[in-house]
């Protein structure tokens, strides 16, 4: 019992040890049952499932930010990315796993601001952003993003003027996921791609915010 003792010195209230697994939820049980069936029927192997899970877990908003920073720095790349994202992503070494949706990049400008939602489920450009945040999958976001996108953006701290068209992208299709190319922040002339990438947040690539503004240089005395 020593390794799993609940007496661990720094606090003394009683609580359960960590030997019990939490009972699986209904949906977790269902997912597990489906995985077993898929493997038993020979549709794919446990290793293939694990490899795909690992691939997706390795992707994070850092990947999307790298793509955005490169597009900000190279106008020709940006044009290729907007026209047909998949081959453009390949130039940067990003391959999309087989049988996963493609990516379509939509550009935010001074005229139009895109914001992405999947009202039916949780479609998300996982190949470039990793797993979606919980709020993206919430009923509140999925319903309010289409009815009141400007109100949702205000809650994320973004107030857009009425001179900008807000264009909601509701991702319901089988084969493409939308990634927002945010506006390049002012005051970033001469920034390296690495410096630019640090300004590109996950939320700005969903479109609920803009990219970060650069920290002003400390005032010279």
């Amino acid at each position: 019992m020593s390794a799993l003792s609940t007496d661990h010195g720094d606090h003394d209230h009683a609580h359960t040890g960590i030997e019990e697994d939490v009972e699986l939820s209904y949906y977790a049980q269902r997912a597990q049952a489906m995985e077993s069936l898929i493997i038993e029927k020979g549709m794919c192997t446990a290793e293939e499932i694990q490899r795909m899970v690992d691939t997706m877990r390795r992707r994070s908003p850092t990947d999307g930010a790298r793509v955005v920073a490169h597009a900000w720095s190279d106008a020709e790349f940006k044009a290729r990315l907007l026209a047909d994202a998949v081959p453009a992503l390949l130039e940067l070494g990003y391959t999309l796993p087989e049988n996963t949706p493609k990516v379509t990049v939509v550009e935010n400008t001074d005229v139009v601001h895109h914001m992405v939602v999947c009202t039916l489920c949780s479609c998300y450009p996982r190949a470039l952003l990793g797993t979606p945040p919980d709020w993206f999958k919430s009923l509140a976001y999925r319903s309010r993003a289409v009815v009141d996108p400007r109100g949702v953006m205000k809650e994320f701290g973004l107030n857009l003027g009425n001179d900008i068209e807000v264009r909601v992208m509701d991702s319901t299709g089988p084969d493409t996921r939308f990634l927002v190319l945010p506006r390049r922040p002012a005051g970033t002339e001469g920034f390296s791609e690495e410096e630019l990438a640090n300004l590109v947040t996950r939320d700005s690539m969903i479109g609920v915010t803009d990219a970060l503004s650069p920290q002003p240089a400390p005032a010279a005395d």
Binding site: E165, V166, R167, T172, G173
Partner: protein
Amino acid sequence: MATASTPARFGKGQRVKVRVGTPPTHFRTPEYIQSKTGVVVALFGSYRNPESLGHGGDGLPMQPLYLVEFDQNHLWENYQGPDRDTLQIEVFENWLEPEIA
């Protein structure tokens, strides 16, 4: 693999109306766009129909899939925003009909 598909019926810029229905299948046309009129902005290709795929079918014939744009103030009563605000969504062709003026 047989991938018969119907030729795309609508072109870019064409006005289309979304059919109304709640079939007992895995349909992916949210009710908020049903009965609404929008404009085709892109054809994304043809894909197996989820309403058949989701129930063990082969999803054939493949259905053209469009990106359709709607005006927000047409979709929602009392929309809080300027008239220029829009929404784009992917819609399978079997849910679309030409707009009858």
